[in-house]
Amino acid sequence: MTAANKTIAEDSPGELEALLPWHAAGTLNARDTRRVEEALARDPALARQYAAIQEEFAETISLNENLGAPSARAMQKLFAAIDAEPARRGSALHGLSGRIPQFFAALSPRTLAAAGAVGALVLLLQAGVIGAMLARDDGSHSFRTASYNAPAAPVTRGLEAASGPQALVRFAPDARVSDINQFLDAYRASIVSASKGGMFKLQFGGESAKDFAGLLSRIQSEKIVNLAVAAQ
């Protein structure tokens, strides 16, 4: 009498005997499958029990398959309930930012690795082309920066108005940055400094600076300006 056979008569199943149903269903791993098959080959009582299990297996499938399927009502009920659910924050990710991670998540590790390798190759090629272009340079073309042909006169607004009059201006609390920018452009002004009290020292240039008293009056009448006084 084999070990497996011995346990059949007892209340608790033997180790391999207990695995027979999973062997019939094909859900054992390779190692256990081999062990069960070897036991079945040498133990006739175990083989008889396995034959009974195969009948149970077939009839259980038959029984379940004859249970039918749910009606369409179940699906309608489900999606009506889903529609009644509160909007999901994640649904906002349906745009590009949401689809990019989904796209990469859907790729297999092998595909991702191949894409990474191709990307690295492209970078190497690009570096090679740039290197070759530099190496071909005969020296007649010296390295030029963006300031190579810079004009002698400064083009910045602040420098242009360096000699203009200055005023201390406090902007309205609800003034937007775009409004202030528009104001600075209109008066050809630049910010020299800002104090803690919310006062800005502005420097004015161009024609508007010629009549400074009139200029201050116009500035004071601007909606976004609370206060404008001449600076020392």
Binding site: A9, S12, A24, A52, N64, A74, I82, G90, Q102
Partner: protein
Amino acid sequence: MSAAQAASDEVLIARIAQGDRLAMQVLYGRHHVRVFRFGLRLVRNEQTAEDLISEVFLDVWRQAGKFEGRSAVSTWLLAITRFKALSALRRRKDAELDDETANAIEDESDDPEVAVQKKDKSDALRRCLTQLSAEHREIVDLVYYHEKSVEEVAEIVGIPENTVKTRLFYARKKLADLLKAAGIERGWP
């Protein structure tokens, strides 16, 4: 279920977590019949089983973001179904026979004898399978019909793996007893 489908199920769950309704429809189409049959075998009432699958998939819609992929999606679905089915059975109470009462009465029924009169072993076996207790029915179905491994059954039912093996062994012995009572000997046990 193939490994490819399992991986595909996980992609669907990730999309559902983002609120993708179409992914929900695909997952439903793929699994709702098995979920329904598993639930129906437990609650034994088609109306209740249909209500169950709506509840199960609504839970999936709500909880998809928490799915960690430590088990197959189908295993997760069956675990939710089992939980919902047991809750439904508890709610049933006096309105209908509770499961234990039903089992006790069924054990005394004449159905196996009727099957013998028909001299149809397969029919008798199917009838006896329906006579098993809910505890035994679910483990038989999970292993034979839903093709779940020892580990997966342990996760769905919430019991140790060794208990899974012995419980199925006792379910099979009970099945053999029912068949024997019906006059059918199979040479085991």
